[in-house]
């Protein structure tokens, strides 16, 4: 089902600032439209989900990794291959829960948030929530239901950005839930 990896040489370079500014414009426009941080977070997650269900195909075509045997392998692939390929950063995988179904991705730098400073009236906005949606959508397409959320964020004053991912269940051959 995976295409031949003739897309690997196709990654054109693009200016990172344009990407950051585009994302920033997106978030601020959502804030203006919805005027409610929680609502904006939800929308970002939905958008991320839609990106994720499509991005997984591209990822599988480019990286030609096989099926992951367990969640740990999934975590490594996400951190070392996926993030590197799309954002150019390599987060570290830490804080495994005892049951082995929850882990943290620690990002020292997040290219989405260069130059961004959250104003005080948006204190509950999760700026990079798109990433959560992308991860959730992508994993759902490979039959893994996960819950993704940010537990630390540099925009809120923490030192690093931490994404917490929890494995919920392996999905049987269901059709994806579709756009919510």
């Amino acid at each position: 089902m995976s295409r031949q990896s003739n897309r690997t040489t196709d990654s054109k370079k693009m200016n990172a600032e344009l990407f950051t500014l585009t994302y920033g414009a997106l978030v601020t426009q959502l804030c203006k439209d919805y005027e409610n941080d929680e609502e904006v977070n939800k929308q970002l997650d939905k958008m991320g989900y839609n990106i994720g269900v499509r991005l997984i195909e591209d990822f599988l075509a480019r990286s030609s990794v096989g099926r992951c045997q367990d969640f740990r392998e999934t975590a490594d692939v996400i951190a070392k291959v996926a993030f590197k390929m799309y954002l150019g950063i390599t987060p570290s995988v830490t804080n495994w829960s005892p049951a082995g179904d929850e882990f943290s991705l620690i990002l020292e730098s997040n290219p989405l948030v260069d130059f961004v400073e959250l104003p005080d009236n948006h204190s509950s906005l999760v700026y990079s929530n798109l990433l959560c949606g992308v991860l959730r959508g992508a994993l759902e397409m490979v039959q893994m239901a996960v819950e993704v959320k940010f537990s630390q964020d540099t925009l809120r004053g923490d030192n690093v950005t931490e994404i917490r991912m929890k494995f919920i269940k392996r999905m049987e051959e269901n059709l994806p839930a579709g756009d919510e």
């Binding site: 600032e17 130059f115 400073e117």
Partner: protein
């Protein structure tokens, strides 16, 4: 009405001179000269790396986006200072005119030095009583600072003005240029913040910290 003394002030007696010096020392000011008819006072400066007394960022439409001054003295005075230096900036911009094939941002350099006068009423009384022994009432203007202003304009007509207190060691041109470069860089970072609307006052913490690093520490 404050007028400058026109005649030379003879040195007053050692006694009153030392008393006056002590009094001035207590308020952190120093005597630079006793002969001239204008007494120059300068602040003791123990730190030479941070020299700016006031930093301002002014938008294209000539309203301030950011203005911060050392809070010791009257802040309004600095606002006026910056406002008047805008006139000089405008003049310089228009003077270059058609010859602006030069793509570099305009570093305007020294705008003009001013001698600001500030009157300390309690010190005046002291001084006058000392003088009184020698001649009748003359009120002095005490030259407090010599401020020099430096300007910098970007291609988008955003202006930066730095006011420094030049009674300390005078800053080299390079240092001023590097200060402006730093300011310009952090200004572009502020601009890139998606939550910042161009035309708003600048409230970024990162920008504040860069500016504070350049200002004279309030002692």
């Amino acid at each position: 009405m404050l007028t400058r003394l026109k005649t030379q002030v003879p040195l007053f007696s050692m006694n009153s001179y030392t008393k006056l010096r002590e009094k001035l020392k207590l308020s952190g000011l120093s005597f630079a000269s006793t002969h001239s008819h204008v007494i120059r006072l300068g602040r003791h400066s123990r730190h030479n790396s941070k020299m700016a007394v006031c930093i301002a960022v002014i938008a294209k439409e000539n309203y301030p986006l950011f203005i911060r001054s050392v809070p010791i003295q009257n802040e309004l005075k600095f606002h006026y200072t910056v406002h008047t230096s805008l006139d000089v900036v405008e003049e310089k911009i228009s003077a270059v005119g058609k010859a602006m094939a030069d793509q570099r941002e305009l570093y305007l350099g020294l705008l003009y030095p001013t001698e600001d006068y500030k009157v300390y009423p309690h010190l005046i009384k002291w001084y006058v009583t000392c003088l009184h022994q020698f001649f009748s009432y003359q009120i002095v203007c005490i030259l407090l600072y010599r401020h020099t202003r430096y300007g910098y304009v970007t291609n988008s007509k955003v202006k930066f003005v730095i006011v420094v207190d030049s009674s300390n060691t005078s800053l080299r041109d390079n240092e001023i240029r590097s200060m402006f470069r730093k300011l310009h860089n952090s200004f572009t970072d502020v601009m890139c913040n998606p939550f910042y609307n161009p035309g708003d006052t600048i409230q970024s913490k990162a920008f504040d910290s860069i500016v504070s690093a350049m200002m004279v520490q309030a002692s």
